[in-house]
């Protein structure tokens, strides 16, 4: 099975993760623009970060046979630094049109301050103007109300729910998000967000329609194989394969593919220039050619003393 991880902060992950993801069947990742663990204080730093996720990180992923896309935006945390926020908002349109940018995101609320609200709304308008989908980060504190409020604001700004992915859902938020016509994404992230077994139950209850599974892996203790593992758990526990495929591949492609920047052909049949330059295709997909990614790399152990 092929998987897409539509929420992965690969800039904070090592090459071990890329190797493991490729071996597990992940063909594409989407890296949302977010903060990097501590706040940026200069617009230039933010710009260089955006340049890195559209440039070097895309190249780095390609070396492991994974196609990399990103979302760009001003995240909710750093929206609270008004000087920074204004500077970032000014250059966002320039970055939003870059190749591989599949949405404005991840935007929304963190603490639900006035500043967060202001920049959330402005970016919804930008997304409409540039005809890009939106990735919404729902707050981790006061989530239920924050999620409802996020959707209210989207509707106030007349952005079509079918172009919006509401991420980091849980049992408390999913019903309303689905009922109101949005894509409902879930981050399988230990301790603080969704778990894989709980996700399987949600799939069982709601089916696969408009449900998306991601890892949201970042610099914290998180699992870049979350999508692949949850898929396998779901199949093992009797969830129909169709629903699993929707939640771990098709829906992410449909939702973010609305940008026109992400197509199945990118990994199934990439243009020659990509094959020559930035993409070293996953061997799983190339019948009859010598495998490039051979056996899954041996898990790193303390006993493996030979480094060369």
């Amino acid at each position: 099975m092929m998987f897409i991880d539509p929420h992965a902060h690969m800039i904070s992950r090592t090459t071990d993760d890329y190797e493991a993801m490729a071996a597990a069947g992940v063909v594409a990742v989407i890296e949302p623009a977010f903060w990097v663990g501590q706040p940026r204080t200069h617009v230039g730093t933010y710009l260089d970060y955006l340049a890195a996720i559209i440039g070097f990180e895309r190249f780095r992923a390609g070396q492991f046979g994974i196609r990399h896309y990103c979302t760009i935006g001003l995240n909710s945390k750093e929206a609270n630094n008004e000087a920074l926020a204004e500077g970032v908002m000014e250059i966002l349109p320039q970055f939003a049109l870059k190749e591989g940018v599949v949405a404005i995101g991840e935007i929304g609320y963190d603490e639900q301050t006035d500043l967060e609200d202001r920049y959330f709304r402005r970016q919804l308008d930008l997304a409409k103007e540039l005809e890009l989908p939106v990735m919404i980060h729902t707050p981790h504190r006061d989530k239920k109300r924050g999620t409802s409020r996020s959707m209210d604001v989207c509707e106030e700004h007349r952005v079509d729910p079918s172009r919006i992915v509401v991420d980091h859902n849980n049992e408390e938020t999913v019903r309303e998000v689905l009922d109101r016509g949005y894509w409902a994404a879930f981050s399988i992230y230990p301790s603080t967000k969704m778990g894989s077994a709980r996700m399987v139950e949600i799939l069982r209850q709601y089916g696969g329609e408009r449900i998306i599974i991601d890892s949201a892996c970042d610099w914290g203790i998180s699992e870049p194989l979350a999508v692949a593992k949850t898929a396998r758990l779901a199949l093992d526990r009797g969830v129909p394969a169709d629903a699993v495929r929707l939640a771990t591949y098709r829906n992410a492609l449909a939702a973010y593919g609305q940008s026109g920047q992400m197509n199945e052909a990118d990994w199934l049949d990439p243009p020659p220039i990509d094959q020559r330059t930035v993409y070293e295709g996953n061997s799983i997909l190339r019948g009859g050619r010598d495998p490039k990614v051979e056996d899954a790399k041996v898990r790193r152990t303390r006993d493996e003393l030979i480094i060369e």
Binding site: L97, K98, V278
Partner: protein, 295 residues
């Protein structure tokens, strides 16, 4: 005597010939717009729209096209360009402004380029106006670890040969070997060979051998013309290699050395020596042999 067309004219012809009507129309429209609106913002937006409007197919060039290209700009080889690269290069090349303005724009575009844009921007170095003003940014580009971007600058382009000083040239050659790129597509390897580079590469070979790692046969090309003393020991070792391609490279390098000992060593490799004299063994043939061996 017919004037050879400018590279930009050729790009325009090739694109017009190849692009489907909607894409060709968009390009004509944008070109018209860019001719009157000289702002950086409009240029940025046009460059940004290229992939969406033009696509990413390979530029379909015949051998005759490549000959004309080489006449228009000697040693310029656009055979690996895609249509989006050609379009972006054309737009930027025609946005000629006064030297400093152009150089600053180029720098800013490179700084915030996405991966495809980086490749396009640097691919056009052979054809932009004010090339000497772009050296700093090109040098910055060569520092990348993104092989595709490195090769856009270093391969199939006369720009580094014509504009990089000896330090930059040497860094580029060494970096190519270091990041696993190839030297064969670098233009001017023989013209720009220099004693310092030979010394650096000899040291690098020693480092690789000490680490039990292979030395690219291509390395010896830049050593040959200056090979004497210790460097001849290096070539002797390469000439005794199990790998045929390494022996071939050693023979070629020896044939470029003026040193007496090199002559004697080469005489001890009669088959290779004959093949070199007969024009059957040269650096192009070695590149083919390396391609065949490693795919």
């Amino acid at each position: 005597m017919t004037r050879s067309p400018a590279p930009t004219e050729l790009l325009r012809q090739w694109l017009d010939r190849q692009l489907p009507p909607p894409a060709a129309a968009w390009l004509r429209e944008q070109s018209g717009k860019l001719a009157v609106d000289r702002s950086e913002r409009t240029l940025q937006i046009s460059l940004g729209m290229v992939v969406r409007k033009i696509g990413r197919d390979d530029l379909a060039l015949t051998p005759a096209d490549l000959e004309v290209a080489a006449t228009a700009r000697p040693d310029w080889d656009p055979s690996r360009w895609s249509v989006d690269v050609a379009t972006r290069v054309l737009m930027l090349a025609c946005s000629a402004e006064e030297r400093d303005v152009f150089a600053e724009r180029f720098t800013r575009l490179c700084r915030y380029a996405d991966l495809g844009e980086s490749i396009a921007l640097y691919s056009g170095l052979p054809v932009y106006p004010h090339p000497e003003a772009l050296v700093d940014q090109a040098s910055e580009g060569i520092r990348t670890n993104m092989r595709a971007v490195f090769e856009a600058i270093a391969h199939r382009s006369p720009y580094p040969r014509d504009h990089f000083d000896v330090q930059r040239w040497n860094q580029m050659v060494l970096k190519a070997l270091f990041i696993g790129s190839t030297l064969h597509p670098v233009v001017g390897l023989d013209a720009r060979a220099n004693p310092e580079l030979a010394r650096i590469l000899s040291d690098y070979a020693h480092e690789r051998w000490a680490a039990g790692r292979p030395v690219s046969p291509e390395l010896w090309r830049c050593l040959g013309p200056f090979a004497q003393g210790g460097m001849l020991d290096d070539l002797e070792r390469a000439a005794a290699s199990h790998e045929a391609t390494e022996r071939m490279a050693a023979a070629l390098a020896l044939s470029a050395s003026p040193d007496q000992r090199a002559r004697r060593m080469l005489a001890g490799m009669p088959d290779m020596s004959d093949a070199i004299a007969g024009g059957r063994l040269n650096w192009d043939a070695l590149a083919d042999a390396m391609q065949a061996a490693h795919g």
